[in-house]
Symmetry: C2
Subunit: 133 residues, 2 copies
């Protein structure tokens, strides 16, 4: 079952440029910055109620986020939905005819299990399902 929006991932070319927008313009606070080597990104986290805004800066030209920025510019990269069981959620999606990027959950940042649904099946919104281990 989907429990909440876990985070909104936003692609930006530079954390150093984008963080002041969230801090000064919106008055949010950057909680921490983390490099996720597997995804070739550096991420900055802002708590907004029960949701996190997660800024994503590519750390290499072949980072998926670098490719996204080249094609689309800055903007919402993905929306992550928290569930208690990623595999059950994937099974439900598959049964409903949804195209999957990950057929089974993989390890994500912060020790979470994650899987992505394909944006071709999700009306253009790259959708992540995630659960705490």
């Amino acid at each position: 079952m989907i429990k909440k929006v876990d985070h909104i991932g936003i692609a930006v070319p530079s954390l150093e440029e984008a963080i002041p927008f969230y801090e000064k313009t919106l008055g949010l606070k950057c909680e921490h910055i983390e490099e996720v080597a597997a995804q070739k990104v550096r991420t900055a986290f802002f708590a907004v109620g029960e949701v996190h805004i997660e800024l994503l800066e590519p750390t290499a030209p072949d980072s998926p986020v670098a490719k996204f920025l080249e094609k689309n510019g800055s903007g919402v990269h993905h929306v992550a939905l928290a569930t208690d069981d990623v595999m059950a959620q994937l099974d439900q999606a598959k049964e409903a005819g949804c195209r999957l990027i990950n057929e089974t959950p993989v390890d994500g940042a912060g020790g979470k299990k994650i899987a992505f649904l394909h944006p071709k099946s999700t009306f253009g919104v790259l959708t992540e399902l995630c659960a705490k281990k």
Copy 2:
């Protein structure tokens, strides 16, 4: 002060096509459908924790959402942040050098006061500020 993510607005060509994705694939429930004549959209609402996912279907070719779909296809159209005081939030944003779409709050759906920040200043994310009246 920003309190939470109020909703994520997602542009789709047809509610009838998109609603089954959210219901069957994700297991969410469509709470209600509402036409917002001023914005020339029909919207479908899904509660996901404290956030709503709001699907936006244009009702006229000159709807802002129709133009968005033409340019980008389906996808995240805007992210709305709940605050207790939209005007104070706009003042803070303006002082920080943010470009505004609405210099003062306007009436939104559900009796809310709303205002948009310009995506040129918000790293590509059309950002709505909203407050209950």
